[in-house]
Symmetry: C2
Subunit: 67 residues, 2 copies
Amino acid sequence: MALKTKVKEYREKAGMKQNELAELVNVRRETIVHLENGRYNPSLKLAMDIAKLFHVNVEELFEFTED
Amino acid sequence: MALKTKVKEYREKAGMKQNELAELVNVRRETIVHLENGRYNPSLKLAMDIAKLFHVNVEELFEFTED
DNA sequence: ACAAAAAGTGAATTATTTATAACTTTATAT
DNA sequence: ATATAAAGTTATAAATAATTCACTTTTTGT
């Protein structure tokens, strides 16, 4: 149950710092770090807020893989 | 930050009991009850598992509204 | 009407996400 | 090269999703 994500790609494409993204979706910068690199399962709200920001759907941004 | 969802609609459309849905996505029946009626913010994994099951995207199934 | 199945409730516990803080490491610019 | 910003790490605390249990209520079928 590892999480693959394109958050970093989309963030950089938007010329955005982790800090800025964090503020826009009302979480801590560390939460963005963990999301981009780490392997954990965010809340639906956080996932949808980020997807909305980048004008993509959740499935484009996040994918759960086996193991 | 209330959560509107169509889980119940899609579940019934699929002729599925709460119990069956719960087993298919590996949560308790009570979690499905709370999801369908209650207003709380599930994990992304749970939301995506359910969306996948019904062949819709997450945004079709869940929507966050103000207050 | 009655029984059985399905759905709903509430409270207490457990598991996990997110926050906070105090750092270190890497990238960027002057 | 060196200062500054950005990104990453680790540990602990706080918030909350999810479990569990013991029910009650509603729905469905015979």
